[in-house]
Symmetry: C2
Subunit: 357 residues, 2 copies
Amino acid sequence: MATKHILIVPGDGIGQEVTAEGKKILDRIAAKFGHTFTYDDALVGHAAIEATGDPLPAVTLEKMHKADAVLFGAVGHPKYDNDPSAKVRPEQGLLKMRKELGLYANLRPIKLFDELLEASSIKPEILRGADILFFRELTGDIYFGEKGRKNNGDTAFDIAEYSRFEVERIARKAFEAARTRRKKLCSVDKANVIETSRLWREVIQKIAPEYPDVEVEHQFVDATAMLLIKDPKRFDVVVTANLFGDILTDEASQIAGSMGMLASASIGDGTCVYEPIHGSAHDITGKGVANPLASILSAALLLDISFGMKAESEAVIEAVDKVLKAGFRTGDIADAKTPKDKILGTAAMGDQVLAQL
Amino acid sequence: MATKHILIVPGDGIGQEVTAEGKKILDRIAAKFGHTFTYDDALVGHAAIEATGDPLPAVTLEKMHKADAVLFGAVGHPKYDNDPSAKVRPEQGLLKMRKELGLYANLRPIKLFDELLEASSIKPEILRGADILFFRELTGDIYFGEKGRKNNGDTAFDIAEYSRFEVERIARKAFEAARTRRKKLCSVDKANVIETSRLWREVIQKIAPEYPDVEVEHQFVDATAMLLIKDPKRFDVVVTANLFGDILTDEASQIAGSMGMLASASIGDGTCVYEPIHGSAHDITGKGVANPLASILSAALLLDISFGMKAESEAVIEAVDKVLKAGFRTGDIADAKTPKDKILGTAAMGDQVLAQL
Ligand SMILES: CC(C)[C@H](C(=O)O)[C@@H](O)C(=O)O
Ligand SMILES: CC(C)[C@H](C(=O)O)[C@@H](O)C(=O)O
């Protein structure tokens, strides 16, 4: 019986719709397990720019620091995508949050629910049994180095940077996680070309002997992009830099059937943030068709990691499993064989999960 | 009836084995079509380091400048992969060659031979009809910017850079290619985070009106990594930066069944270079089992692009198609249903293609 304060930060696009379902599930878990969860919400991204001019208003950041955990939606807006010279952008809110909260490790579990074995574009026999846990570094790399223009704006540059400390910090998290799983760690870099990757590989090699029970391999990012699709079962824990992690985990979403199924946990030394890996998806915003399961599964990660509520977390995952077993699907995970009346909208899907709790 | 001089640069690992097959095919084409092809060879990569201490000896570069075209193998050696602090590396030979020859555009056609529809880990119904032509920028980006260490070696950095000129140059090639195909161009970047991508997007937007017949879309690299597997048929021509192109084309190899099938052409203002997209593959080097078709198809690109020999190029592709139709496979493209006696080694596979010419 615990009392916890959760900040809901829907952000933009479908962020609003999906976090509403995540919150519904948290509410039910509190009632069922006798916890008291209090909530607040805050603006970020385009929504925050519209309201305050700032993609991460100080009040949002303050609320985040004070909360026990944050359930986050998504940020982004087509307006900025079409205007590469825009100075204020929704994504700055997300990146600044990650930096300010020190969220250096982004955990992205890629696991296929049995029922979705046919939903992917990858063959079932390739997917069956795949279970990967990505550790994406989240506060360094080309995302946070100096960037700008020179030669009267005719040349653009971005600086990628990593320190030993930054690499070691996330690498240790990944080694520790591998210990609790199948004891395999794949470190992904591009050490044949870039210097940050050479440092990355050096650090992994240096600390590996401290984890003799973990089998370590190094792969180049290009080869990994291929192997993930060719033979996803060969991976257990994967640790990689910010940019490579961004690309590889989106790709790996196909292993889980759909991006709409993937949750993530961003952890650091303070408040942790839980968010779907999908984006704001403005093409389907407001239509009530977005898959809320990534947000609901993010809530499950929140319960487990931030609150240490293992049973509660598993109850959510089991409820999702039951809903899928009962044949319910959102559009993104439906296939030709799904009966029309089993294809649900965002809120109806949330209600089905609720009904199993 | 033409006289042409071709430089064979096998490089490392399976490079030797596969370029030998590519050359065999070029020889036959010359005889069949009444051309005179003369050859020379040269060292690059680990092989060149061992012999001369330099991954791209001056004599190799000189021969390249003088040749009408270069058939290239692969570079790399596990020795350097395990030693991130090595100062001299095989890959430097490849990168310096690209820079010195001004090979700014790397064309990577991703096309599935009908017969290999079942060889991929992706479902046949997703793949059928997929046909993508990648334009990977090859002489800029984080590959060629300043890189190094600071803070007593504790921090590593890499600088990514693009100028308008560099982006426009490859973008125009891609637009022109799209005109001769399905008239769709997808430009891939990460303009929501990095400045080089913002410049990239600006340049594409600026020149797009000059190609009103080409439909342009912009995608983020993470979304593209997902869409390539989810729905490869939506892509026609894809243009992207050096690093993103490296990652996405290796991933896309799964669309063609195997990396062992993919050829590439690196073009610039002087001699062009043709090479498989696969690497040196030391795990299978010397075993005679590497798939030579990527090198043979690279020879086909060479005939077409450098020599303007369309019929000759098509004859090679048709020969490969016939060999596949006859059921012959190397290990990488064989499946459970392939009879043992149809699984061929490198040279035997080359001989089968020869027999069809
Ligand atoms: C929106 C964007 C800045 C972000 C990123 O690149 O990190 C997103 O793709 C993600 O993966 O969380
Ligand atoms: C070997 C390596 C430097 C090279 C690259 O990254 O360009 C290779 O992966 C390629 O795609 O040609």
